[in-house]
């Protein structure tokens, strides 16, 4: 039982996960002193971790969904925010990863002119990610999606090179089109049921053609934003041409926010219309994404492009879980949460390490990185540790996630997914060991380093993130029990 005082406190705390980043963004925009921006960013990032820890401890212990009626209006007319165990884990993950990247970016830009414009956009992006997680209303989610898309596009464009601008423009078109498809679904739902709130919708939703159409358009829109296999074309370009902190958050959190919306729609809000055929179709696309993404990563000529294609493959695993959740919700849900957190931490750390290498070398061509392990010991260490999690080697978080998926595939009598899970792990070995192999071979010619920019101290937070990917693997039983109990 939550006593009265605590519930009032929680009512105040939930809006904070959105308000703190927004206030920080505005403060960074108004004040153009770089030191001030950095200090306020650091402070807000740590406050955000504190807030999300309080939320996580409350919701995971008491198994409750906390609903806040913003302005006291209540569901049909007003906007509700809600936090349950799953959302609290997502918010905690987003707080930890964004804090790590915030600390990294303070040193990454090294007083570039770009940094002035980076901070406000950065905090708008974090606000939008948290907004997507806490929002409990299909239209409010659309607003958060647009804020997410616009700030992400601007962050890519900040890089200013022609490739980055082209990638940003393409990402903008894909993002706007995806959000409009989602909005079309919202319009159909509102015309049919006259409500927007998740809970009211899930109570009223019936298996009709309208609901199916709405879910289909919303799914198509979100699949574009998640970059599932046939719609992945924009992701490698956008993620590999952005600056390193931006690539890190795009792969670790932005893709997950779109996935989270899809997940909520399919298994919470409109679950009445979800059938075996549709989940299997999504699962097949996920399987193709795992194989194709890994293949392209193996053939990638640049380090950041390789990491970006690895995101395409890892997103495939998330969708592979859809047919498993349909048959066996408990186990596969826990697996998905694990996969999201493990991949988020690992991919963020990996992009940060790749960014440090690219910054010092001035490029990230894989042909020219022979023997960098001696010059970049910390970066390669982080790359190796996070690789273990992406491949799914024990005792990493990625291993636990894949183990749970395998278990769930066997218990739900869908053994064919096991084949993809195994071969996906092998392919991941192939492309990640390709980098490590190059890094440890001695080069014929000397590496040309920009000594001013060659510093690995900024990778401290990345090292902590890569540590987290291992720690969540070691405490697996405790964490899975916690997550499983909060779902029931």
């Amino acid at each position: 039982m939550i006593n009265l005082e605590l519930s009032i406190l929680l009512d105040l705390i939930i809006p904070l996960v959105f308000l703190i980043p927004i206030i920080t963004a505005v403060a960074c925009f108004v004040c153009d002193k770089l030191t001030f921006n950095r200090i306020i960013s650091g402070v807000s990032a740590f406050i955000l971790i504190g807030v999300s820890l309080v939320l996580a401890s409350q919701t995971l212990q008491s198994n409750t969904t906390i609903v806040v009626q913003v302005g006291g209006w209540g569901a049909p007319l007003g906007i509700d925010l809600r936090v349950n165990g799953l959302i609290a884990v997502m918010i905690l993950m987003s707080a930890v990863i964004s804090t790590a990247i915030t600390i990294y970016s303070m040193q990454y830009f090294s007083k570039d002119a770009i940094e002035q414009r980076f901070w406000p956009l950065w905090w708008f992006l974090i606000a939008a990610i948290n907004g997507v997680f806490v929002s409990s209303d299909v239209f409010n989610t659309y607003i958060m999606l647009e804020l997410l898309g616009l700030s992400a596009v601007s962050l890519i464009a900040l890089q200013g090179t022609q490739n980055a601008l082209n990638a940003a423009y393409q990402y903008l078109l894909v993002g706007l089109f995806g959000s409009l498809l989602y909005l079309l679904g919202v319009a159909i739902l509102y015309r049919t049921y006259g409500v927007l709130d998740y809970q009211l919708l899930s109570l009223q939703a019936a298996d009709t053609l309208n609901t199916q159409l709405a879910l289909a358009t919303m799914t198509l829109g979100m699949l574009m934003k998640c970059a599932l296999f046939p719609l992945h074309f924009w992701l490698p370009v956008a993620h590999s041409n952005a600056s390193a902190p931006v690539s890190a958050i795009l792969s670790a959190l932005v893709v997950k926010a779109a996935f989270f919306i899809l997940f909520t729609l399919w298994f919470d809000v409109l679950s009445v219309v979800v059938g075996y055929v549709s989940v299997t179709l999504i699962g097949i696309l996920g399987g193709i994404a795992v194989i194709y993404g890994s293949y392209r990563a193996f053939r990638a000529p640049r380090l950041k492009l390789l990491v970006a294609f690895s995101t395409v493959a890892q997103v495939g695993y998330l969708f592979l879980a859809f047919p498993l959740i349909y048959v066996d919700p408990e186990l596969a849900r826990t697996a998905v949460i694990y996969l999201i957190v493990a991949h988020g931490c690992a991919k963020a750390a990996m992009f940060m390490a790749a960014g440090a290498i690219q910054k010092a070398l001035g490029h990230d061509q894989l042909d020219l990185i022979h023997g960098i392990a001696t010059k970049f010991p910390v970066s390669i260490f982080i790359f190796a540790v996070t690789s273990a999690s992406l491949i799914g080697l024990p005792p990493s978080g990625g291993f636990i996630a894949k183990w749970l998926l395998l278990n769930s595939a066997v218990t739900s009598h869908q053994w064919w997914w096991v084949l993809i899970l195994f071969s996906g792990g092998l392919f991941a070995c192939a492309y990640l060991f390709r980098v490590l192999n190059l890094a440890f071979t001695t080069s014929e010619k000397d590496l040309i380093l920009d000594t001013n920019k060659h510093s690995e101290t900024k990778l401290l937070s990345a090292a902590i993130l890569s540590g987290i990917t291992i720690i969540i693997g070691l405490n697996a039983i405790w964490i899975t029990d916690l997550i499983a109990s909060s779902q029931s």
């Binding site: 078109l173 509102y190 490698p236 041409n241 061509q365």
Partner: protein
Amino acid sequence: MTQSELYTACGVVLLAIGLIGFLTRPDFIRKILALNVIGISIFMLLIATAVFDINIIDPVPHAMVLTGIVVAAAGTALGLNLASKITKLNKSARAQDNLPSVSSIKSSENLSTENQPNASPQNKGESLK
């Protein structure tokens, strides 16, 4: 045919026009215009639900459409700004190299491979002003 049905029909026709425009036209400005047409068609579909009786008008679709218009304006502004930046960069690159433009959005999968260490030194320093 009631007014609401007329609005719905117009919304669907506009949606079709917007989709065709967005998916078939390659150039920058047309794609952004097509996205706006799609947006307006969805707003029409929403507005059409507001009146279910002359005396009872539902305010929620109005609120949604107003918010949607603001978002669409922001997206359009960003898109046009990016398009003009890309065109300027292309022009300056062409003036320096006397080479044909490389900024076809279709060939973007290969774009990432173009980022050779010494391929485009003139782009490296240029940041978004």
